[in-house]
Structures are given as structure tokens and as C-alpha cells.
């Protein structure tokens, strides 16, 4: 009978389908699971694109590789201070133009290549060269020449004093790479760090294993294996933590879910600071934002505490300038233009806008940006200013429209780079803010290598920004760390975007 034949054919097809699934599955070998408690699974919201921090800007690249796989001449510790790493020590000439580094001996890369001055020269020349794709190439701009008198000595000669050079050399973008493996670091990173790259299951996780030949015998690395697992959806992040699939989420994505972990004895909630400054940048050459009084009035219309409450469930620290409490020489300037709607309205009238005005906010799709925008919209309405919100896809469209073309009135974004107050001195930059006095101050910071003097200058620079309000300075994002209560050694704060695993261990 034909009809049974068809049913038969249908089930045959299902059988074949099932066989394909099983066949595919069976063709992969089975591996024993790693022994528990010497491994850690760290959750991250976004997978990095590539694993080479010297050619990609995404903070996620550093959060996987910096200090775990790759190390620099200098490093930045959990307090945000510069420390020696592959450079044991250094001397700076009195004019601040010659840096002589004494390099550590006996350091090898994961592929066995020895680290010496020629490798350091290769790394620095690659970063500052004509076809460099280093995202922080500007940090190497003052290096005029690189000399290697012997394998343990590296001399950098500068064209102008650069007071932040040692700090910048500690960044993920400045890590040491060796010539043979450099081109493939994007996929198979090879560094000098305590962990070796093992495998990258794209879309899922990156696996690392302890480097048995790690040079730094002063630290004892406890983890044998570590995995970074990428989970985008906040609900899925919470589920993975509660189910124990992930041991730690150092930057948990949804503040509104943090309360749901309270009372869970297995997990600890650790709230620290990041360098993520949430600021609502304004186009300082476009009317009416070209008028300082208008910007100041808008700043006074904003109650930062309410923004933090609404946008990030009350976690986060209000800021009065483009600077975080983590940063050296921080001044609390939130009182410069304290929230006062009546005064804001009066100042707006003084600037010639008694009936307010209307403009468009280009807000990225991220939750913090959308929520902050909606709160700002309500606050501006109180002083008669109408703000229309236009959602702008981040990063691609935002980078094209706002960052590159500066075609916007106001936008809102979290600036991730530590100590990046100098963006207000850059020209061109999307704020279109120009203040020679501010630029002078930052030039002075670079001209001196006296830390106290630099801190004082940073303080003055913060004050100028707080007064001029080139952007509405809102708050610093907290680091919402949620991890297994027995897992120790993760950084509480994040003076530089990272997940340093060197000291991570399980408590008995």
C-alpha cells in the first residue's frame, strides 16, 4: 500500500536524521573532566573578537589575556599603581627624554622563545610603525628611537617628555609579543604569562592552562586550568551562576538581578569600582550646546543620585568630572553644579532660552544608556527642555555617526579606558571641546615625571572640566562581582579592564 510506504519513508527520514546527529556526536572523542577545585570558570558577557590586545581595542581582549597570557615591561597593580614586570627596573634621564630599562633574564614565551631586548624592540616598533594597527598607537608617538645595547638593556629615546609612558607601557595594548608568533596572536596568543592558551571554542569559551615554566617564582599560581565562558543574556548569566556552571561573574550584567543573589550562601556579591565613566557628551560646537551656560544649566537639572538609582539600581558612584575615585589625584567635584531645577531654569533663561529648546539624544542600545536617557529626558522636561531619544546601535553605528562624524547633539556612553581625561584635549574628538588652558595642563602632566606634581595638575584639569561641562558627568559603573564564596583572589576593583587570575584559588 502506497500510503504506508510514505509513512515508512517519513520515519526512515527521521531515522536518518537521528543517525546524523548520533554519528556527528560520536565522531568527537570524549575527554575526562578536569579535576575539580584547581580549575575556575569565569563568566563574561561579551566574547572578544580576537585575542591580541595589541591590535584590538575591545576591553574584553584584555579581560581574557592581560596578565594571564600576556605581560608587559611594566604592569598595573590592583591599586592602579605602576609596577615592574618584564622590565626589572629603569632609570629616567633628568630631562625626561631617555628611559633605560633593565630587562628580566630567563623569561621565555610559551613557545620557548626567549624574551630579550630584541623582542622588546620588535614589540615597540610594531606598535609605533607606519602600518601599526595598535589601538593605542598614540601612546608610542613620542618614542623617537629604540636601542638595544645588550640583550638585557632597552633604551627608549623620546622626542618630548612623556610622564605617563611607564603607565601606558603597562596597558594591554603594550604587552610583549615575539616576532614568530605575533601574527597569529589574534587566534593563538603566545605570551610570557602564568597561563598558556589552550583552546578557543568560538562563541563559547577560551581555555587556559597553567604555565609550568612561569618565570615569576615569587607568586604561586594555584589554578591548573581556567576557562572564560561567554554568556550575553543577564538571565542566563544568573542561571549559570546559580546552577554552578560558572564560578564567577566579575562583571555581572544586570544590577536589577543582584538582589536575587542575596541570601544565597554559596555566592558572594562583591561590589567594587571600574574605570567606566558614564558621560552624556554634547556637541560643543553645535547650538545651543556651544553656550557654556546651557551646558551648566543642563548639568544642574540632573540629579545624579536618581540617575544611578534608575539606571543601575543604585550601584555606582556619581562623578563631577571625567575621573574616577580609583584614579590618582581624584577630586570629588559633584558639588560644582549641584542639582537645582529652579537655578537651572534661571541660567537657561539667562543664556537666552527662557522657553527651553529641543534636541536629540543618540543613545546606544545598552541598558544603562537607555535607562539613563529616559531619566535625563524627564529631568530636562522639568526645566522646559525637550529631549528626543534616538536609539543608535553600538558600536558600529555609534562609532560611525557620533565618534567619527560628530553628527549629534547629545549622546551617552561609558568610557572604558582608564585615565583618559586627555580625550577632552584631542582634536578631532566627538565632543568638539576646545580649551587651550585645559590642553596646556595635560601637556604639563606629560612634561613632568614628578608624581605629586602630576596629581596636582590632574586635579586642576578635573576642575576645568567640571566647570566647563563639555559632557554631563554622571557616574562610574560599579564592578558587580558575583562569585562562588569559596573562590578567592579575584580583583575587587578594576583600575584597568582585566581578570587577573594569578592569585585566584579555592578555599578549602
Amino acid at each position: 500500500m502506497r500510503s504506508t510506504g510514505i509513512l515508512g519513508a517519513l520515519s526512515r527520514r527521521m531515522l536518518i536524521g537521528g543517525a546524523v546527529v548520533l554519528g556527528m556526536a560520536a565522531s568527537f572523542s570524549t575527554n575526562a573532566l578536569a579535576a575539580p577545585k584547581t580549575g575556575a570558570v569565569i563568566g563574561m558577557a561579551v566574547e572578544p573578537g580576537g585575542l591580541d590586545p595589541t591590535i584590538g581595542a575591545q576591553v574584553m581582549i584584555g579581560q581574557v589575556t592581560w596578565q594571564n597570557i600576556f605581560e608587559g615591561l611594566t604592569t598595573i597593580d590592583k591599586a592602579g599603581k605602576v609596577q615592574p614586570q618584564l622590565a626589572e627596573s629603569w632609570t629616567i634621564s633628568p630631562d625626561g627624554l631617555t628611559y633605560t630599562f633593565k630587562l628580566r633574564q630567563g623569561v621565555t614565551f610559551h613557545n620557548g622563545v626567549a624574551f630579550d631586548s630584541s623582542v622588546a624592540k620588535f614589540t615597540i616598533d610594531r606598535a609605533r610603525g607606519a602600518d601599526s594597527a595598535n589601538p593605542q598607537k598614540r601612546y608610542f608617538a613620542s618614542i623617537a628611537s629604540v636601542e638595544t645595547p645588550d640583550p638585557a638593556t632597552l633604551i627608549l629615546t623620546l622626542s618630548r617628555p612623556t610622564g605617563s609612558l611607564l603607565y601606558w607601557l603597562g596597558w594591554p595594548a603594550s604587552v610583549m609579543v615575539e616576532p614568530k608568533s605575533a601574527a597569529d596572536n589574534k587566534v593563538t596568543p603566545v605570551g610570557t604569562g602564568p597561563f598558556k592558551f589552550v583552546n578557543w571554542a568560538k562563541g563559547s569559551k577560551v581555555d587556559l592552562a597553567k604555565n609550568p615554566d612561569y618565570w615569576n617564582k615569587a607568586v604561586s599560581v594555584k589554578l591548573d586550568t581556567a576557562s572564560f565562558r561567554f554568556i550575553g543574556d543577564p538571565q542566563a548569566q544568573a542561571a549559570a551562576l546559580k546552577a554552578g556552571d560558572v564560578d564567577a561573574f566579575p562583571e555581572f550584567g544586570a544590577p536589577e538581578l543582584v538582589k536575587s543573589f542575596e541570601g544565597d550562601k554559596k555566592l558572594s556579591t562583591v561590589i567594587g569600582n571600574t574605570e567606566l565613566k558614564v558621560v552624556a557628551g554634547m556637541n560643543n560646537t553645535r547650538k545651543p550646546f556651544s553656550d557654556k551656560k546651557v551646558r551648566q544649566a543642563l548639568m544642574m537639572a540632573v540629579d545624579r543620585a536618581t540617575v544611578v538609582e534608575g539606571a543601575w539600581s543604585g550601584y555606582g558612584t556619581p562623578i563631577g568630572s571625567h575621573y574616577t575615585p580609583n584614579d590618582r589625584g581624584y577630586k570629588d567635584l559633584t558639588g560644582t553644579w549641584p542639582y537645582d531645577a529652579a537655578k537651572a531654569k534661571a541660567l537657561l533663561a539667562e543664556a537666552g532660552y527662557p522657553n527651553g529648546f529641543s534636541f536629540t539624544m543618540k543613545a546606544p542600545q545598552m541598558a544603562y544608556a537607555q535607562r539613563s536617557s529616559q531619566i535625563l529626558q524627564a529631568m530636562f522636561a522639568e526645566i522646559g527642555v525637550t529631549m528626543n531619544i534616538e536609539t543608535t546601535e553600538f558600536p558600529a553605528k555609534w562609532v560611525a555617526d557620533v565618534l567619527k562624524a560628530a553628527d549629534y547633539d547629545m549622546t551617552i556612553v561609558a568610557h572604558a579606558e582608564p585615565m583618559d581625561i586627555d580625550i577632552y584635549a584631542r582634536d578631532p574628538y566627538y565632543f568638539n571641546y576646545k580649551n587651550p588652558a585645559f590642553n596646556d595642563l595635560l601637556a604639563k602632566v606629560e612634561a613632568t615625571s614628578d608624581a605629586a606634581e602630576q596629581d596636582k595638575l590632574y586635579g586642576e584639569a578635573q576642575t576645568i572640566l567640571a566647570n566647563d561641562v563639555p559632557a554631563l558627568f554622571l557616574f562610574v559603573m560599579p564592578k558587580l562581582g558575583i562569585w562562588d564564596a569559596k573562590l578567592k583572589g579575584l580583583w575587587e576593583n578594576e583600575p584597568i579592564p582585566s581578570n587577573v587570575l594569578t592569585e585566584v584559588h579555592w578555599e578549602e
Binding site: 566574547e47 573578537g49 589574534k186 563559547s204 546559580k242 546552577a243 558600529a396 555617526d401
Partner: protein, 315 residues
């Protein structure tokens, strides 16, 4: 029959070429480029230009299109801008997740829908029919990603029976792999099953009124045999049609469900590539999806020929 096949295959190829051109142009019209996404907020224009040159993005549009197309014909899908690895390998890794997921979802939805549809049809307007109707309407109404979230809360967070998401990889074992796919497949299958149940019910009711079913009953077959051996096979054409059409929704659903369950599948790859502006990956994945939909529709047409012999002689 052969002539029909040749004509269909020719139109299939032309459709794919047109689709490839459309995909390429649309991707190029998207604001933003991969180089500036990779370099972030600090890069200078010179650095950007250097990277664009390295990625070959400085070439004019027609050159890039032809180079891509020529590559696809040779089986070379290009290199991902962000991952820096060949796209073909990237897609193969992802297919090893999405294909089993989609197959499981199809098997589940058919396995649910046909018995339910038949049961509803046999007790038309009875309590069972109304109950099945209610359940299938709920299935149609709720989006797959939401079902997914509920499943995670119930089976992972509360009961702890299933992983909350993620994929251990097939090298962790077949069982572990399949286990990770069960909840997502259920989430994908339920809305599909809802639609298919309705279609199966209507089709079976229609066929059950036909003369040959009455004849089957008249010659003494039991009601069950009459339904399963005579009515159901003849009701399959609309079910298969719907299955073919639903396939597009299955792919769209996979993008969302893979994100909710954090599965490294093809749908999630497409989503990530879009946000990173990894244009070459986007082009390849979308072309693959388009080809898949076109080929599945082609196979559905062939399935008609298998199910209904009358169509084989028709021109």
C-alpha cells in the same frame, strides 16, 4: 519529471546569485565598518586606514563582491575580520550545534503535532479537541525565547536537572552535548508544534470526510487503522507545506534561542557578526541561511511528488 527538476535547479541557482548580490549590497550599506569597531574609541584616522588596508576594505565594492563570489564558488568563504580564522571552519563548528538543534526541534514538533492533531480531529469539538486547541494556541502565541527562559528557570535553576545554557562541546561526550540541546530544542519546537497541530487537525478532518476513508471504514477497518493508514498519509501534504514554511521561522527562532541558551550556533554567530560588523561572516551566514531556505523549499516540492503521485505527471 526530469525537465521539471532541471528547470527548478536552474532557477534555484539564479535565485542564489541574486540573493548573494542583495546580501552584499545590504551589508555594505550598513553604517559602521569592522575596522573602526575593532579599533574602538581611541584610534587615529591613520591607524584606521592601516587596518582597513590590511583587511582589504579599501578595495571598491564590485571588486570585493566578485572576489567574495569567486571565493564562494571555490569553496573559500574568506577570513573572519574579528576572529581572524577561515569562515568555513567557523561555520562548520557552529553547524555542529545548530543542525542537531534544528533536527531535534523538527522531530519533537512533528512527534507532538501529528498525534495531537489526529487526536483533536477524531474528537472534533469534544473536550480533548478544545484542550488541545487551547494548548496549541498558547504554543503559537508565546515566543520561543520566552519559553526558553521559563524552561531555564524550571529545569536548571529550580530543579537543577539541566545545564542553564552553554554548550560543553561534542568532545565532552555525546550525552552531555545532547543534554545541552534538549531545553533549547523544546523551546524551539513548542511554537512550531502549536502551528503544526492546527494544520494537522484541519487536514485530517477534511480527509476524514472523503469517500475513500468511508470506504475503508465500510470494508471493516477499525477506526484507528482507517485514520492512521488512510486519512493521515493523505493529510500530510498541508503538514509538509507548513513544515517547509515554518523552517524559516525555525532559523529565525534559532538566533533568539541560541542567544538565550548561550549556544555557540550559527544563529548566534550571525548575531555576533552583525554587532561586530564582521561583514564577511554576515555575508556567508546569511547566504547559507538563504540557500538553506531555498533548498528546503525545493525539497518540500519534491516531497509533494513523493506524497501525491498525481503531481508527478503534472507539468
Amino acid at each position: 519529471m526530469i525537465a521539471i527538476l532541471i528547470r527548478r535547479i536552474a532557477s534555484l541557482i539564479i535565485t542564489l546569485l541574486v540573493v548573494s548580490l542583495l546580501i552584499f549590497v545590504v551589508m555594505d550599506l550598513l553604517p559602521g565598518d569592522p575596522a573602526s569597531v575593532m579599533l574602538g574609541t581611541s584610534a587615529s584616522p591613520e591607524t584606521l586606514a592601516a587596518l582597513q588596508k590590511q583587511l582589504g576594505l579599501d578595495q571598491p565594492l564590485p571588486v570585493r563582491y566578485l572576489a567574495w563570489l569567486a571565493g564562494v564558488f571555490r569553496g573559500d568563504l574568506g577570513q573572519s575580520y574579528t576572529y581572524g580564522v577561515p569562515v568555513a571552519g567557523l561555520m562548520a563548528e557552529r553547524l555542529a550545534v545548530t543542525l542537531p538543534l534544528a533536527l531535534m526541534a523538527v522531530v519533537m514538533s512533528v512527534g507532538l503535532a501529528i498525534p495531537l492533531g489526529v487526536a483533536a480531529a477524531r474528537r472534533r469539538n469534544g473536550v480533548v479537541d478544545h484542550l488541545i486547541g487551547l494548548v496549541s494556541y498558547i504554543g503559537i502565541a508565546v515566543p520561543a525565547f520566552w519559553v526558553g527562559l521559563l524552561l531555564i528557570i524550571a529545569f536548571s535553576t529550580m530543579l537543577g536537572w539541566m545545564p542553564a545554557g552553554g554548550f560543553p562541546g561534542w568532545d565532552a561526550g555525546v550525552f552531555e552535548g545532547l543534554k545541552a540541546l534538549v531545553l533549547p530544542a523544546v523551546a524551539l519546537a513548542l511554537p512550531q508544534a502549536g502551528v503544526l497541530t492546527r494544520v494537522a487537525r484541519t487536514a485530517v478532518i477534511e480527509v476524514m470526510g472523503e469517500d475513500f476513508v468511508r470506504t475503508a471504514r465500510a470494508k471493516g477497518l477499525s477506526e484507528s487503522l482507517a485514520v492512521w493508514r488512510h486519512a493521515v498519509p493523505n493529510a500530510l501534504v498541508p503538514v509538509v507545506t507548513m513544515l517547509g514554511m515554518q523552517f524559516t521561522f525555525l532559523i529565525a527562532g534559532a538566533v533568539l534561542v541560541e542567544n538565550v541558551f548561550n549556544l555557540p550556533g550559527l544563529g548566534r554567530l550571525a548575531y555576533q557578526a552583525l554587532s561586530q560588523r564582521d561583514l564577511i561572516v554576515m555575508q556567508d551566514v546569511v547566504l547559507f541561511f538563504a540557500a538553506l531556505v531555498i533548498v528546503v523549499n525545493f525539497l518540500v516540492d519534491l516531497a509533494y511528488l513523493a506524497i501525491d503521485p498525481r503531481l508527478r505527471t503534472a507539468v
